[in-house]
């Protein structure tokens, strides 16, 4: 290899800089802080268990959207047998009235930009 004396230290430096955040986390012994979301106080349970909602709320919402708009079906029967109206603004945002502190904080943290809010309005927005 030509110029190994320059290339090898250069690569080492590059890797050190790029991997610094990972080593920093390992060294400090704690994971980076997750998004600081504010959960609703009025209700204890969501339509499905919290872990399921964390993982699958987007699929659930897409299904609700297709049911309501395409099939005119507006009732969701949850896994525990309770039924809900399939409505983003009517059902979700009734409890999660703090879109900015709930939806947005986590979406910002994970850098996703759902297009829902281009049309749908949260009670927050219509009050502001």
């Amino acid at each position: 290899m030509y110029d190994a004396g320059k290339i090898l230290p250069g690569m080492a430096l590059f890797l050190a800089v790029v991997l610094a955040p990972i080593w920093y986390n390992v060294g400090s012994g704690q994971a980076a802080a997750g998004p600081d979301i504010v959960k609703p106080v009025s209700e204890k349970e969501c339509v499905e268990p919290a872990q399921y909602m964390r993982d699958n709320h987007m699929q659930l919402l897409i299904r609700w959207r297709d049911d309501a708009v395409r099939d005119g079906k507006r009732t969701y029967v949850a896994s525990d047998g309770r039924s809900y109206e399939e409505s983003l603004t009517g059902t979700c945002l009734r409890c999660h009235s703090n879109k900015g502190e709930f939806c947005d904080r986590c979406h910002d943290y994970s850098n996703v930009q759902p297009s829902c809010w281009g049309c749908h309005t949260s009670p927050e927005e219509s009050k502001a």
């Binding site: 309501a68 507006r74 603004t89 009517g90 945002l93 281009g118 749908h120 309005t121 927005e125 219509s126």
Partner: protein, 263 residues
């Protein structure tokens, strides 16, 4: 048996011809191709309902200047009022009677009736041309006859606007939120976004919850009727059977489901 190139090509030609004949024979024998589309049109919502509107124009004209129905529609659907007429978004609006029924009603040409304001909206056609041309399935006809609009799927190509003979569709040339008072927006219905086509959906969201269209509810004069035209006992059916009603541009073959009582 050996097959040379010439023989192979001959056989291929005969087979291609045979494939082409299949639909022709089918339509001659059973008319299956035609039947399929008729079945599609005849299928109901499972309960055989077909929603329709009746606009009782003489009754509407008995209170000149009233636009309660339009105000009701605009409020529940968050319809923006844009300054520029060319970019206007309309679901329910007024046109001069003369423009709607010239050729059907002589009064539309000669009498003072021609300049009177008549309500217009999406006709929820039995045979909607907009649905035929939509490349994404964003607009389609529901089993109960409502020509529905799925704003999620609309890509803004505006084929439907070209296809609609009634001009019932509007395009969002600008972000509608800039012309809406966001403090007064009804969160129960989404606003739209730039690049989406919209039109009257006969308040499908209210009908699905057992309600009636907002314009019918908003009209205190009873000039707007809503109901199931397939139900022989419904009021819309009674009015259409007993009074002289017109539909817009019947020669187009779209079979509108908005009827106008004209005298």
């Amino acid at each position: 048996m050996t097959t040379d190139r010439r023989q192979f090509l001959k056989m291929a030609g005969v087979m291609a011809l045979g494939l082409g004949l299949k639909p022709v024979l089918q339509s001659l024998l059973g008319g299956e191709v035609v039947k399929a589309s008729e079945e599609l049109l005849a299928q109901g919502d499972g309960q055989g309902r077909r929603w329709a509107m009746v606009v009782d124009l003489p009754r509407c004209w008995s209170s000149p200047g009233c636009t309660d129905c339009i105000a009701a529609c605009d409020a529940v659907h968050n319809i923006p009022h844009l300054e520029d007429e060319r970019k206007a978004v309309r679901w329910l609006w007024q046109e001069p009677y003369g423009r709607l029924f010239r050729g059907q009603d002589p009064r539309a040409t000669f009498s003072e009736v021609s300049s009177k304001a008549a309500l217009v909206m999406c006709n929820h056609c039995e045979n909607p041309p907009c649905v035929r041309v939509c490349p994404t399935g964003a607009t389609w006809k529901r089993g109960d006859g409502i020509v529905m609009m799925d704003f999620h799927r609309c890509i803004g190509c505006r084929y439907c606007m070209v296809a609609c003979p009634y001009g019932a569709r509007s395009y969002n040339f600008v972000d509608p939120r800039q012309a809406l008072d966001m403090t007064k927006v009804d969160p129960g219905f989404p606003t739209r976004t730039r690049g989406v086509v919209e039109k009257c959906t006969l308040c499908s969201e209210r009908i699905d919850r057992g309600g009636i269209p907002a314009c019918v509810e908003g009209c205190s004069r009873g000039a707007l009727l809503f109901g199931d035209i397939n139900d022989p006992k419904s009021e819309v059916r009674r009015v259409v059977e007993t009074r002289l009603t017109l539909v817009r541009r019947p020669e187009m073959g779209t079979k509108p489901r908005v009827y106008y009582v004209v005298s």
